[in-house]
Amino acid sequence: MLTFLAKRILQLIPTLFFVSVLIFSLQQLLPGDPALIMAGEDRDPAVIEQIRKQYRLDQPIPVQYVFWVKGVLSGDLGESMRNKQKVLDLVLQKLPVTMQLASMAIIIALSIGITAGVISAVYKDTPWDYAANVFALWGLSTPNFWLGIMLIFLFSVQLGWLPPSGYVPLTEDWRQSLATTIMPAFVLGNAIAAVLMRHTRSAMLQALNSDYVRTARAKGLLERSVILKHAMRNALTPVITLGALEFGTLLSGAVLTEQIFTIPGFGKLIIDAVFNRDYAVVQGVVLVTATTYITLNLLADVLYVLVNPRLRA
């Protein structure tokens, strides 16, 4: 286990290195002189010169990279060009909002996805199975921004049950908080539920065809306990770790849903930054996302080994 962990962590170093190169080189894609772009409307040569010095734009690119990485490693992701706030502070400030949204989405996705997957595997080739498969296809094919707009149309415009946009923190008023986040969380969870359903279905089918399930049935156990205790337990472990990999889908989705429901989270931060040409913030958000994703991946791998005794060396 320890060697596995050590190997896995060592592997992260080059990956993180390339992530940092990737994110750093984004700014090289900017057409024209970055100092001019950063200066914005202000065309004062003195200001431009100062920006050039401050961001070391007068130095060779590898030197710029080294300074950038040094800053990142000490927690300095640069500062927003718009309001001079530290990028790290901005990210940390928005993170709880997206976390709330993401956790609700995961709960929705797990409960729908696993239920549908188990039902469709147990009742394979029946109308239940077809219905679950249609649901999965629908979930994978619906653009989540359209789903969001349609939900607003139905529940806010037509029925008037839920607020169409805005956000209230959990600590302030939990009822209002849930009312403002339930639609975006459903939109986010929907697509992931579809993916989880497919994984669960195939894992359950495999488990139901295995020897230990046949043995359990031969012993005369109730079908319910065979499915719940024997098949499901074994089938769901890989599904849950695979679920961790859907974190990326979640963050991608958050960008759109937060935009539609005007929720001041992580996704809204990156879009606002894009439109304010606040490139340091864009880079910072991408970097934090990637690092979180890599860490979650590692945790999922470790978890998978831990729950699967056959892999434990």
């Binding site: 990956t15 921004f145 974190f247 991946n297």
Partner: protein, 315 residues
């Protein structure tokens, strides 16, 4: 050859009892092999045709392609023609799907929008395939430090969530449909590198690759003529599913204002302006979204169908 499909007519001749002695049985076996050989392509097509979903998907895709190609002939109005006397009019005989906030015909814009979506889907996947497949071939076939390097770069790109990387790239490149395609293409590339690499690693230990090496084929020849054809099915399936993802991504970027720029029509940007008029003009939001949904669903159906049809384990 493996056993034929249970329904194929060739099966009838196989069951003859072996009373005529080994020589005749041998002939029988040869004949059976002749009759049951079906080119992989035909077998895949036959199996694909059995899947109603995939066939329906293919038909819908064909329809959308026709609509996109003949858009100027089909569209009832100029998609960019504004009319201040017909602002946000509900669907009627004159405007089947209604008009938008500046009086443009929604149907005409949905029809022309098919161009941006299909083009973005196909071109971005073409970019991803043309970069990703060669890199995957090199990585999987050569192994060693080249593989290690390429794999870590792939990992790094996959570590950034798909849409966030695409948004960042599109933001730095500048908003336009072309840049959105490049951004989506580059972001999709690591998926193809990884898939190709994995497939190559699985195939390169097969006997026929060994045989090709033994008779002295150069490495590039083995990679291109012996390995590549055998991994095409997997690439085809992934390609189809990736087109679906790319169409959603283009619509998402255009929705955010990073793709197709107004006034040029695209389904994503139509949804963007529609959101502001949900209370008064819901038709503006329904139709472009439905068009994205149908196109993406069709590509997903065809992709799923292809996967089942090309799966050698399933007959």
């Amino acid at each position: 050859m493996q056993a034929s499909h249970p329904l194929s007519p060739a099966q009838a001749g196989v069951q003859k009892p072996g009373l005529l002695g080994p020589r005749f049985r041998g002939d029988e076996r040869e004949r059976r092999a002749d009759e049951t050989i079906e080119s992989p392509m035909r077998r895949a097509l036959r199996r694909l045709k059995r899947r109603k979903g995939a066939v329906a998907g293919l038909i819908v895709i064909a329809l959308f392609v026709l609509v996109a190609v003949f858009a100027p002939l089909i569209a009832p109005y100029d998609p960019a023609a504004q009319s201040w006397t017909a602002v946000r009019k509900a669907p009627s005989a004159a405007h089947w799907l209604g008009t938008d906030d500046v009086g443009r015909d929604v149907l005409a814009r949905v029809i022309f929008g098919a161009r941006a979506s299909l083009l973005a889907g196909v071109i971005s996947v073409a970019i991803a395939v043309s970069i990703g497949v060669p890199l995957g071939l090199i990585s999987g076939y050569l192994g060693g430090w080249v593989d290690a390097l390429l794999s870590r770069i792939t990992d790094a790109m996959l570590a950034v969530p798909f849409l966030i990387l695409a948004i960042a790239l599109a933001a730095f490149l500048g908003p336009s449909l072309g840049n959105a395609m490049i951004a989506i293409g580059v972001t999709t590339t690591p998926i193809f590198v990884r898939l190709t690499r994995g497939q190559v690693m699985a195939v390169k230990v097969e006997d026929y690759v060994e045989a090709a090496r033994a008779i002295g084929n150069p490495r590039w020849r083995i990679a291109l003529f012996h390995i590549l054809p055998n991994i095409l099915p997997a690439l085809l399936v992934q390609g189809t599913l990736s087109i679906a993802a790319a169409i959603i991504a283009e619509a998402a970027l255009s929705f955010l204002g990073l793709g197709q720029q107004p006034p040029a029509p695209s389904w994503g940007s139509m949804l963007n302006s529609a959101q502001r008029f949900l209370t008064t003009a819901s038709w503006m939001a329904i139709w472009p979204g439905l068009a994205i949904f149908l196109t993406v669903l069709s590509f997903n159906l065809v992709g799923d169908g292809l996967r089942d049809a090309l799966d050698p384990k399933e007959r």
